[in-house]
């Protein structure tokens, strides 16, 4: 049970007793949180008193009347806002007016409860403010430690890592239980699928290591003058076997040489990513055009394919981690969903930019510009 402290600021004793009665055994529970919330009530009759209590105790919720003997409720609200206290305020007032509502909202009041209120109104106000407070605190906790993205990344990552383990384990169990009988040949498909899943898991782990290294800035870089054309040729050679299997031809449009100061390893990752995508997502007997050129400011890399292309929605998610386009056409194509995020990070590390032109069933063109 998690206890939230409610400070009730009202000079009418009757209101306080009423609130106490309603909230005595009241608890709030949310399906997304293990613990129920219960409430401890503290009361004060003046704004001055309330400020003292807020300063000295960890208050979570303030039920605040505006009309008080000394300073007004909105002034207490102002104080809370100025001090940036992590609490939520509900105004209770019989003198509700647009003017007060605007004032109070501007000063950060979360909600209003008009006086007189019934049990249900109070309970629902408390329930809402509790949810608001809980979510706000949770978000704050996650963002303050830079965790929000990390956390999402981790849950998707663990999904991507556990899925192949589950698949392979499932096949092994079926073999263990001899579900298809005693002839080992009956299990060929299961064995092959298991090997494929393990290979793709290995790729994911390698990509992930690249990704974290680039992201954390820990990747060691060796910047020196290199001939980009040489590296591009090696990348083409290494993709050829897969291209031949798929009857995809690769045409290169390279100058004799293209010298630039950069890290050779980074360029390799860029080229390998672009080419393997252009081949994997191409159609049978398709074509890849690989262009290297320069203008006055930039080295320009273009890879054009005649593949399945992308919808606008798929395009908008293209560089996000693990956002592989999942549709009938991509189902049989293996990929980790990290390649293009890594590519983008590396291009940005080199002060460059990536653009994509794409049309469904026609193909995509990736263009990278990196300044000299």
């Amino acid at each position: 049970m998690e206890k939230l402290k409610i400070l009730v600021v009202d000079d009418e004793r009757g209101i306080l007793t009423g609130i106490r009665r309603v909230l005595r055994n009241f608890t709030v529970s949310f399906p997304f949180h293990d613990e129920d919330f219960e409430y401890e009530l503290i009361d004060s009759e003046t704004g001055e008193d309330a400020i003292e209590i807020i300063d000295s105790q960890d208050i979570d919720i303030v039920l605040l009347d505006n009309k008080l003997p000394g300073i007004e409720g909105v002034e207490v609200l102002e104080y809370i806002k100025k001090k940036e206290y992590d609490l939520a305020v509900i105004m209770i007032t019989s003198h509700a007016s647009i003017d007060l509502a605007v004032k109070a909202t501007n000063r950060g009041a979360y909600n209003f409860v008009p006086k007189p209120f019934n049990q249900a109104e109070l309970k629902s106000a408390i329930q809402n403010v509790t949810k608001h407070l809980f979510l706000k605190r949770m978000t704050k906790e996650l963002t303050s430690e830079g965790k929000e993205i990390r956390f999402k990344f981790l849950s998707v990552l663990s999904h991507e890592l556990k899925s192949p383990i589950n698949a392979v384990e499932g096949y092994l169990r079926m073999m263990e239980d001899k579900q298809l009988g005693n002839d080992i040949n009956a299990y060929t498909k299961m064995i092959n699928r298991s090997i494929t899943r393990i290979e793709s898991m290995r790729n994911l782990i390698m990509d992930m290591l690249d990704f974290t290294r680039v992201e954390s800035g820990k990747k060691s870089r060796t910047i020196q003058e290199i001939d980009i054309v040489e590296i591009a040729k090696i990348a083409v050679d290494s993709i050829l076997p897969i291209a031949i299997q798929k009857n995809v031809s690769i045409r290169t449009h390279f100058p004799d040489e293209l010298i630039k100061k950069c890290d050779a390893g980074e360029l390799e990752i860029i080229f390998n990513n672009l080419l393997s995508n252009a081949v994997k997502y191409n159609k049978e007997e398709g074509q890849v055009d690989f262009v290297l050129k320069k203008d006055r400011k930039n080295v320009i890399i273009e890879v054009k394919d005649t593949g399945i292309g992308m919808s606008e929605e798929e395009k908008s998610n293209l560089f996000k981690e693990f956002m592989r386009a999942k549709n009938v056409k991509t189902r049989a194509i293996s990929g980790t969903g990290l390649g293009l995020s890594i590519l983008k990070k590396i291009v940005e590390l080199n002060n460059g930019n990536v653009t994509v032109e794409t049309e469904v069933d026609k193909g995509s063109t990736f263009k990278i510009e990196i300044p000299f």
Partner: protein, 127 residues
């Protein structure tokens, strides 16, 4: 007696085929969906007695969405949600509770053994 049929949705084709194998071995017919979109179509067009849905497909919450849609159309058809990821999300999923925001009857973590699967199916279909 007619065989009961179970709608299976998973974007991991290995897992889907394994589920199909086990479920059919238990004596049920299966209807397969390879992703959330296909599953939505199957919910509209097919007849089935139960559904076993993967949680993370095109969307991180595909299973929740499907379960919600399915229960809206067929409140009495039991739904089991399965996922490789549960604890990592830090959320507690207890769809068995009446007041849960997740409209499903059971949530299971992947790595489900056939005997456990049989127990859960039988319980929900009251066999």
């Amino acid at each position: 007696m007619n065989k009961k049929s179970i709608l299976l949705a998973d974007d991991d084709r290995d897992y889907l085929e394994q589920m199909q194998f086990h479920v059919e071995k238990l004596g049920f017919k299966t209807i397969l969906a390879n992703n959330q979109k296909e599953c939505e179509e199957k919910i509209e067009t097919e007849k089935f007695d139960m559904a076993i849905l993967d949680l993370m497909m095109e969307n991180e919450d595909s299973g929740f969405i499907l379960s919600y849609k399915l229960k809206k159309k067929y409140p009495d058809i039991p739904v089991i949600l399965v996922s490789a990821v549960t604890k990592e999300t830090r959320f507690v999923f207890q769809p068995e509770h009446d007041d849960s925001w997740i409209k499903a009857d059971k949530m299971l973590e992947k790595g489900i053994r056939p005997d456990q699967l049989q127990r859960e199916i039988n319980k929900l279909l009251k066999i």
